[in-house]
Symmetry: C2
Subunit: 210 residues, 2 copies
């Protein structure tokens, strides 16, 4: 999973002429879910978004406080284009989780974030709609995060692999423990239906509308 | 170098009460320059930003045309926070090119982009200032790009290394050929002054203001 986290003075979403969501000071998060993402990526991303120290403290010291510390708001918008792979200059989206799976996965993630913070302070766009996202980036301050699955750092990958092996040895049956039902279902999908993450859908994926 | 490219209906930059820059339809690009970046990264990034197919064609077919094809505008804003490395939940910026080097490097990159397109269609923020960047993300469509130096893909790195070795064998003296003077200077810096990219500045870098 990839996240683009922008610190904002305010942000909002409009669909057509209608404003469907808005926040004041806080974070605007664009989230790109990949075919590989599991509950582990959700957990990591929720924790990081809510704990990332990009706000100043009362004494004005920068990089001291998180969105939760300052009791600010979060506007999350699903953004499959973050999973693009360039074929020359043309974006290809076969790595993005298909919408019918990404939607329950994304909703479960929002739910998780609301549980971990305060439901009223987590706002949303409209999944799959053509939106205008109005972002007043404050600073600007923009942080790009990759969840463990998205990481291509060889050291990190080796570490993950070892951790996974240990996990499989000791707890073979409950590796999805703690997952909410929708995320759990989506997380298991790649194992249960290998064709779902194949290139079959990739042929037309670059035609996918935002 | 890292770039966050947002397709926009419009975008602008204000410093204090004053609007210093604005564009209509086009791309808002947030650019994070690292201590490792060279002219090669500049060339790659300029080419990709201008050629990326994120606009529809006249028949409404998505992902067909670039910002240049459609004669639209680009608003570039330097964004060192993209080079953050998380220490726990605190961003650390020792990988970001220090401002006194990043500024000429960034200006040379803008110059390059103006040469490659039309000077009037490339707008800028105010380097190092505390800005509000107003972004109306259209779709939303957001693409994250890493230049070759920033890539951690082992295959890609091996490929780069081989290419570099070939280059050094055949053209030992002109590996910065074609670089504009400022970018050239900045590009050579890591070799000439190894201490400049050391962690010396890293101790206070997370205190760096946006």
């Amino acid at each position: 999973m990839k996240a683009i986290i922008q610190r904002v003075t305010k942000a909002s979403v409009t669909v057509g002429e209608q404003q469907i969501s808005s926040i004041g000071r806080g974070l605007c998060v664009l989230l790109g879910i990949s075919t590989e993402d599991t509950q582990k990526d959700v957990d990591y991303m929720v924790r990081k978004i809510l704990s990332l120290r990009v706000f100043e403290d009362d004494a004005g010291r920068a990089w001291s406080k998180s969105v939760v510390d300052r009791e600010l708001e979060v506007l999350c918008v699903s953004q499959f284009t973050l999973q693009c792979v360039l074929k020359g200059n043309k974006p290809d989206y076969h790595k993005a989780m298909p919408a019918e799976l990404a939607q329950p996965f994304y909703n479960a993630m929002l739910e998780r974030m609301r549980e971990a913070y305060t439901p009223e302070r987590i706002k949303d766009g409209q999944f799959g709609a053509y939106m205008q996202v109005h972002i007043q980036n404050d600073g600007p301050v923009t942080i790009q995060l990759d969840s463990p699955t998205a990481s291509t750092d060889p050291k990190q990958l080796a570490k993950q692999e070892k951790a996974q092996q240990r996990k499989e040895k000791t707890r073979p049956k409950d590796h999805n423990k703690g997952a909410t039902p929708a995320a759990d279902k989506a997380a298991r999908r790649p194992d249960q239906d290998p064709s779902a993450s194949s290139g079959a859908e990739g042929d037309v994926s670059s035609e996918r509308d935002p």
